[in-house]
Symmetry: C2
Subunit: 121 residues, 2 copies
Amino acid sequence: MNRRNTPAKEAILSLLSSSKRALSQDVIERQLDIKINRATIYRVLNRFYEDDIVHRIVAEDGKQYFAICEKNEKNQHHFHFRCSSCDTIECLHIPVDYKVPKGYNVKNANCVLTGSCNDCS
Amino acid sequence: MNRRNTPAKEAILSLLSSSKRALSQDVIERQLDIKINRATIYRVLNRFYEDDIVHRIVAEDGKQYFAICEKNEKNQHHFHFRCSSCDTIECLHIPVDYKVPKGYNVKNANCVLTGSCNDCS
DNA sequence: CTGTGTGCAAAGGGTTTGCAAGTAC
DNA sequence: GTACTTGCAAACCCTTTGCACACAG
């Protein structure tokens, strides 16, 4: 399964790279300079996710948000903060600390704190 | 906005009370003895949620799961564990420990660890 | 030229809503 | 009797899929 470079991928990757926040498909579509189809955006994001280029957060609103994986936190679970006022999600760079009962195996962590951020408080 | 006791509410509350797991609407509908409409189940669950009778978890699959609030953990955020093999969610009774940057205000926490549980490992 | 990527439209799955009929109190 | 509840069907929203065409390598 080879991957090809296309304008759509470059645009989405560049947008994610320049954003401090985790973005959802609709926000990405709105912020892109070029018009890219909804389905294409999802396909590109899912490929980035498979290739560990981005991580995916599912928030309380049931929507998926995507953010670039920073090198030093790759495969490292961290908290996310969702501001319900400005409806953005940001990575808090705080590692998630937990212990699970014996026999349990954790593969992924989806931790989102919701409230109001510094700008909105 | 008064609340009335109805067979639907009693049945759903009793099912949630007897379950060790957080349940989604489809599972609730399937496990109920009496037939209750999908929309009604959601309305009852949302009312329970407003009244702090249950808490709501949104998992990576984007679905809502509901579990009875235990007295001693009311308003206390704890981890949840979702087993991707048997597709159940359970409350881990492990408090979520975090600190947020200055000016941030946390109202809710939605923390789900995903992996395989003791039975499925 | 071959196989990956894209747009479009439609389908899918979970959740909510409008409305008329039912029922708790 | 009044206001809350329910069932039904349809609407909504986010995400995925099928298919034909476009295009990167």
